[in-house]
Amino acid sequence: MNTFRDQLIGTWTLLKKELLRFWRVAFQTVAAPVITGILYLLIFSQVLGDRLEVYEGVNYLVFLIPGLIMMSLLQNSFSNSSSSLIQAKIMGNIVFLLLTPLSYLQLFFAFLIAAIVRGMFVGICIYLIAMFYVDLPVEHPWFVFIFAFCGGGLMGAFGMIAGIWATRFDQMAAFGNFVIMPLSMLSGVFYSIHSLPQMWQNISHFNPFFYMIDGFRYGFFGQSDTSPYLSLLIVVSFFIILSFITIRMLKSGYKLRN
């Protein structure tokens, strides 16, 4: 019999393996994105630091940090679940998961939590390093946490969809280069969308990354480009929709049990 205890141990084992998997290559999975984030911070703050004030009383460098933290968190949550699945599929060792009694929900939650943990860990590292440069206020810590959690979860689920769908590394790279990168770069990480022409402001409202960044930034400054509650509603809705799609894919065995 597959008892509830068996299921808990099974899920915990897969989660532990997924966490160890990225920790074993922390130089690539943690250090590299942290350095990239810090480089963005140094370059943009040096070039634009004294010339811009996006929100009243908020220095550009301070404005930039929450956006960079969230962008790194989102990209790394996506990378964790997507790279784990595509590697396991291409190497063939996905079979060791598929032969087990792990249910589609167990697979979903283990991959999802691992993705959130990696994203948050990278985000916290950038935050801690940024603390050496500036004092970063946290006006609404719960908003910071809930947007980090839902953003990481949303991207973890999206990573699972990409990992299940893709059959080659170049297909996965296309996801990163043509979907994740443009959406995160054009989400208001480096600017407030109010500084854009009206047409681009309107287009930005169709970018879910904008709401994740804007809501997360509200948690720090208490100021945002759009209502944080609208952002929360949109982020949670996307999280639920993508989770539903992922669970359906895992349940049906789409491109896994074939």
């Binding site: 019999m1 597959n2 141990i9 532990k16 160890l20 063939g92 032969l99 009694p101």
Partner: protein, 303 residues
């Protein structure tokens, strides 16, 4: 005796291709069962359907009484599968990989002792802290077998376990698998090495184009399809002579050896008497018995 595995009218179609075409088969508990067939016969598809890696187009499969689709968790607890390909997770060493695999089946730390025992029995102790990437092919194969055993399944399926393995290791694996069978595990083996099936399996199914073309005990198959050949070595002049004189007794010639196909062993004495009566000197002779390979080639139509 209760059944370990039951296939009921199982089919798998890939568009027009019938990879498995209506197979019904039962494997008893404790049996050592061989599944033979040429490439593309449908052996791996059949096993993958049993493992839940491939969904059948039609029919039912159960393992230890559990339906592999409806009661998949219980069914998967009951079976350990050694895949054909040497696949591994490059991030972990042998012991870590085995403990993770056991954990997926709900086994906690109390199972670590059994994991260590499996490691020892498969001679993996020295390599237990070595990353899977750094193992030789033979060691990877042992680790795969260990991985299928960590949750103590009553049924073990080995898909070509000795492919690409040297003779010494093959012998070791054979004796280990035999031990498992003696301990009460049901073993299903697919193999290309027919001597392997002949030496190990109590019962054999031969597959061709998604269908079972023979299913019986290894002993009965050998008896039923047994072919005996009489090979005699003659002087070359005499070979020409007998091809004229023994028109009603066809034979095949290879250098100075002539091979006569016998329906029964007693036919051999008739041929020898005929040759003596024609005053043809026999330089050497051999009576060759059929093996599983002949039967396999005959049934699967491969020459």
């Amino acid at each position: 005796m209760k059944k370990a595995i039951v296939f009921k009218n199982v089919r798998k179609n890939y568009k027009q291709l019938k990879a498995v075409d209506g197979i019904s088969l039962s494997i008893e508990k404790g049996e050592f069962f061989g599944l033979l067939g040429p490439n593309g016969a449908g052996k791996s598809t059949l096993i993958n359907m049993m493992a839940g890696l491939v969904k059948p187009s039609d029919g039912n499969i159960s393992v230890m009484g559990f339906d592999v689709n409806k009661e998949y968790q219980e069914a998967r607890h009951s079976v350990g599968i050694v895949p054909q390909e040497l696949v591994f997770d490059p991030f972990f060493n042998v012991r870590e990989m085995l403990r993770f695999q056991a954990g997926y089946f709900g086994k906690d730390k109390s199972n670590d002792k059994w994991v260590d025992e499996v490691i020892e029995r498969l001679d993996l102790t020295e390599k237990s802290s070595t990353n899977m990437r750094k193992l030789s092919g033979g060691m990877k194969r042992r680790a795969l077998i260990a991985q299928a055993l960590v949750h103590r399944p009553p049924v073990i399926v080995l898909d070509e376990p000795t492919a690409g393995v040297d003779v010494e290791l093959r012998q070791k694996l054979w004796s280990f698998i035999k031990e498992l069978n003696n301990e009460g595990h049901t073993i299903v083996l697919t193999t290309h090495y027919l001597e392997e099936a002949e030496a190990l399996c109590n019962r054999v199914a031969m597959m061709k184009s998604g269908k079972i073309v023979a299913l019986d005990s290894t002993k009965n198959l050998l008896k039923e399809f047994s072919l005996k050949n009489l090979k005699v070595r003659l002087e070359k002049n005499n070979i020409k002579k007998i091809s004229v004189l023994l028109k009603e007794t066809p034979f095949q010639q290879e250098d100075d050896w002539c091979t006569f196909k016998l329906k029964k062993v007693s036919d051999a004495s008739g041929i020898i008497e005929k040759l003596n009566s024609l005053k043809i000197q026999i330089l050497d002779l051999k009576l060759i018995e059929s093996d599983l390979e002949n039967i396999f080639l005959k049934l699967t139509g491969k020459n």
